[in-house]
């Protein structure tokens, strides 16, 4: 073993039943380094993190930390040793103050007079932690006061700095699992600055789907594929293309967004018209026309109101005022169920909360939006055979990696879960599809398939509203892009095939500096 290694995993293997999730993986993490772990969904990245952080025990192999073998039997034990982690799903309790979340489970360091918590000291330490990350947060406020991305930043700050600030651990190892998928650009940069700062004290293991990030922030990158360590590369002498090649076993398609399939839609009739939409504290006076076959992008910072607008357009959370018009019909107040019956589909951003019921089967999750028509008769008999057939069809058609319609969705990777959510609406042959961050937290391969699907749908005449935080996706896929700032549409940018706007132009509009 090299002397300067802080962490070493040796011959780690893990099976879940028949499935081999991790197969004889060994590597070391040098002191004061940032190590990237990349791989497609299902490659074993999360399982690797689960083993290191004590959440599941390895079947074979062992883990060494500071030269000694460790066997944490749960996350707390690993945590007290100095291994902390930011989970893919948010683990903050919404209804307590930020500082309580940051110092959760470490309250024993703040006890005064035997029993009383020294809240002033807790607040001071927590504030120091968020300040160190350059976050504009008042730790005394309730956690739910902050939105998704800021809550994520809080989690990252907690994982990175609690070991040092509270536990006094000199060389902590921080595991970051997809920390940036929901972060704004400015927060991302703050995170990278922070990662570089932690490197002076400890080490970071970093999982991300954004390869450019991994390349810019890591000292060394390990590539996992089907549970094996297939490559270890030096970011200084590699590029995104080669890395992607290692991950999927092939090089990335030059035309990632299928741009050449982007058709001309200006002459097409208007399929979906949104007029004078306003909702207090969310968006104001929004009017949009979406053509048949168009991908209409909506971009903006996280507080721009674009997700609220998506929920409003679908009728799920109707606006205070405003009407929608489907295919030249009568303008009406948006009503979710009535719009669904007219061919609207809505894919929410928070997949695990609003998109999919994990313990239930693929078939049940696909049929759930069509219980009132496709999958039941007039007297309410559930058409089990039809349900099974439709699920089978979509497993084939869009390549859901599940062995059958009865497989529980909890066993699928994020990308396949998202395909199930899409299939739930595709089986209704929708004409208007509202997608809120359809590729959040899914791997490059699945993203590409979603993009292909979007092109196929528009080619067959569907209109798509694409709300996304990913700028390149927004630019690559959209015919036109509405940019929102502070609840208002501040500009609609044309994005024809031969004249796509640049990231810089859009960011300028989003920030209002242009």
């Amino acid at each position: 073993m090299a002397v300067d290694e802080i962490l070493r995993v040796e011959a780690l293997s893990k099976n879940f039943g028949e499935a081999i999730v991790l197969d004889n993986v060994s590597f070391g993490v040098a002191r004061n380094s940032v190590v990237g772990i990349v791989g497609e969904n299902g490659a074993g990245k999360t399982t690797l993190f689960n083993l290191i952080s004590g959440i599941v025990p390895p079947d074979e192999g062992y883990i060494e930390y500071r030269g000694k073998e460790i066997r944490p039997s749960n996350y707390r034990e690993a945590n007290l040793l100095g291994i902390s982690r930011v989970f893919q799903e948010q683990a903050l309790i919404p209804n307590i103050a930020v500082y309580e979340n940051i110092l959760l489970s470490h309250e024993d360091h703040f006890v005064r007079l035997g029993q009383v918590l020294d809240r002033r000291k807790m607040i001071a330490v927590a504030q120091r932690i968020v300040d160190a990350m350059a976050l504009d947060i008042d730790v005394r406020l309730q956690t739910s006061h902050y939105d998704f991305s800021i809550r994520q930043s809080i989690e990252i700050a907690r994982a990175c700095l609690v070991p040092r600030e509270v536990l006094g651990i000199e060389a902590p190892v921080v595991l970051l699992d997809e920390p940036t998928s929901a972060l704004e650009k400015s927060e991302e940069e703050a995170l990278f600055r922070l990662i570089r700062r932690i490197r002076q004290h400890g080490s970071v293991l970093f999982v991300s789907h954004r390869l450019s990030e991994v390349l810019s922030v890591c000292d060394l990158i390990h590539v996992l594929k089907d549970g094996r360590l297939v490559a270890t590369v030096d970011p200084a002498i590699t590029n995104e293309r080669t890395l992607h090649g290692h991950m999927v076993g092939r090089e990335r398609d030059a035309d990632y967004y299928h741009e050449h399939e982007q058709g001309e839609v200006n002459t097409h009739p208007v399929m979906f018209a949104v007029k004078n939409f306003s909702l207090a504290n969310a968006y104001e006076a929004v009017t949009l026309d979406i053509h048949q076959g168009e991908v209409f992008g909506i971009g903006g910072l996280l507080d721009s109101g674009k997700s609220h607008l998506g929920k409003g357009m679908s009728g799920l959370v109707p606006p205070d005022t405003g009407t929608v018009q489907v295919d030249g019909g009568k303008p009406t107040r948006p009503d979710f169920r009535s719009l669904i019956s007219q061919g609207l589909a809505y894919v929410p951003a928070e997949r695990l909360v609003e998109g999919i019921i994990l313990p239930f089967s693929v078939a049940v999750n696909i049929s759930v939006a069509s219980g009132q028509d496709l999958f039941s008769t007039w007297w309410g008999y559930w058409r089990v055979a039809v349900e099974e057939r439709v699920a089978r069809h979509y497993i084939q058609e869009i390549g859901i990696k599940a062995s059958g319609p009865q497989v529980s969705c909890g066993t699928l990777s994020g990308g396949n879960q998202q395909k199930v959510v899409l299939a739930k609406w595709l089986c209704r042959s929708p004409r208007i599809i509202i997608l809120d961050n359809p590729t959040r937290g899914i791997d490059a391969g699945a993203k590409e398939e979603v993009y292909k699907l979007i092109r196929q749908l528009t080619a067959s005449g569907a209109s798509i509203v694409l709300i996304t935080d990913e700028l390149l996706e927004l630019i690559g896929l959209s015919h036109r892009i509405a940019v929102m700032r502070g609840g208002r549409v501040t500009g609609i940018v044309d994005a024809p095939l031969d004249k796509k706007p640049t990231e810089r132009e859009l960011v300028g509009l989003m920030l209002g500096t242009q």
Binding site: L316, F336, R337, I340, Y346, P348, V353, E354, G355, I356, I357, P359, F360, S361, A363, V364, N365, S367, V368, A369, G371, Q372, F375, S376, G380, Y381, W382, V384, E388, Q406, S408, K424
Partner: protein, 320 residues
């Protein structure tokens, strides 16, 4: 058939456990007591189990949906009291069953509407209505047992269209079978699972969640209404203690059967096993001469033990 329902059904060893418990209880009591296996006793068990089974059949849907209905016992009592009063005042016969069912449905609707439209936890709503319904019933009964005289109505419960199998049990098992079908093969049943498994997902998929919540409580009320009416027909009177044991017994039977209080897991088919376990325990312990207080202790321990064994705790992150 079984395989196709797959995802919503547990077919693991733990899922089969209630069947094993029923068999064990059966064998143990057969050996320990001579009277247990007698035709007379088994007929009595069947008719004792019936009201509980009816009440559980409806309440299981509510629990599948992730809510709780504490008021079934009170509905049984109130419906019983009203039915006896009506029989005595208007000479109602068999049609009392329709009246009882309708009244139960209305009471369930009240629960459901307050719960769904008022957005109040079902625990609170039905705890309140439990008290209200009981109060009205006791007012009606003046705190005494009310008897009636109607042979056709009696026959509804204690007649034996099938020899040695009282009609009340025939009703209960038929309705249970229909409800198993409703649970697995209808939109209503499916929506119960979906709402219990992920209400937010159901909403973003266009499931009319609010409406179906009301339906579930209406069904629970209707089943309790039928149970209450037949219970009165069985004992020939409505007394102030009618249905009081149902509060604990329905929840115990449903949970022991394997339907999770957190919603989305289990099913009406399982509640039959839970009902059998609770009823066999009651009956067998009585025959063995175990006193009432010890019975309470044993029953409570069985409920907790059953859940301890059957719950897949690795899937639980919190318990409330």
């Amino acid at each position: 058939m079984r395989r196709r329902r797959g995802a919503l059904l547990q077919t693991t060893f733990v899922g089969m456990l209630p069947i094993l418990v029923v068999l064990i209880l059966f064998v143990v009591f057969s050996v320990a007591s001579d009277a247990f296996l007698s035709l007379r006793n088994l007929t009595a068990v069947a008719s004792q189990a019936s009201t509980l089974l009816l009440a559980c059949t409806g309440a299981t849907f509510v629990i599948l949906m992730g809510s709780i209905d504490l008021s079934v016992g009170a509905i049984v009592l109130l419906v019983g009291a009203v039915v006896v009063t009506l029989i005595n005042s208007f000479g109602l016969g068999i049609s009392a069953l329709a009246v009882g069912t309708a009244l139960g449905t209305v009471l369930g609707f009240a629960n459901g509407a307050i719960f769904s439209l008022g957005v109040i936890p079902s625990f609170v709503v039905t705890l309140g209505s439990l008290s209200v319904f009981t109060g009205i019933a006791l007012e009606l009964l003046q705190g005494r047992a009310l008897q009636y005289n109607s042979v056709p109505f009696d026959e509804l419960a204690i007649g034996q269209m099938v020899p040695h199998f009282p009609n009340i049990a025939l009703f209960a098992i038929t309705i249970w079978a229909i409800m198993v079908f409703v649970c697995f093969r209808t939109r209503f049943g499916r929506y119960m699972y979906v709402i219990g498994g992920g209400e937010a997902v159901a909403r973003t998929s266009g499931v009319p969640v609010g409406r179906y919540k009301i339906y579930a409580f209406m069904l629970s009320g209707a089943m309790a209404g039928i149970g209450g009416t037949l219970a009165v027909a069985r004992v020939g009177a409505a007394g102030p203690t009618l249905g009081t044991d149902l509060l604990l017994n329905t929840l115990a039977a449903i949970v022991v059967g394997g339907t999770s209080l957190s919603g989305g897991v289990g099913g009406v088919h399982r509640s039959l096993l839970g009902v059998l376990i609770i009823t066999l325990l009651d009956d067998g312990l009585n025959l063995l001469g175990v006193n009432q207080y010890s019975q309470m202790m044993i029953k409570g321990a069985v409920v907790i033990g059953a859940v301890l064994i059957s719950q897949d705790r690795s899937k639980l992150s919190t318990s409330k």
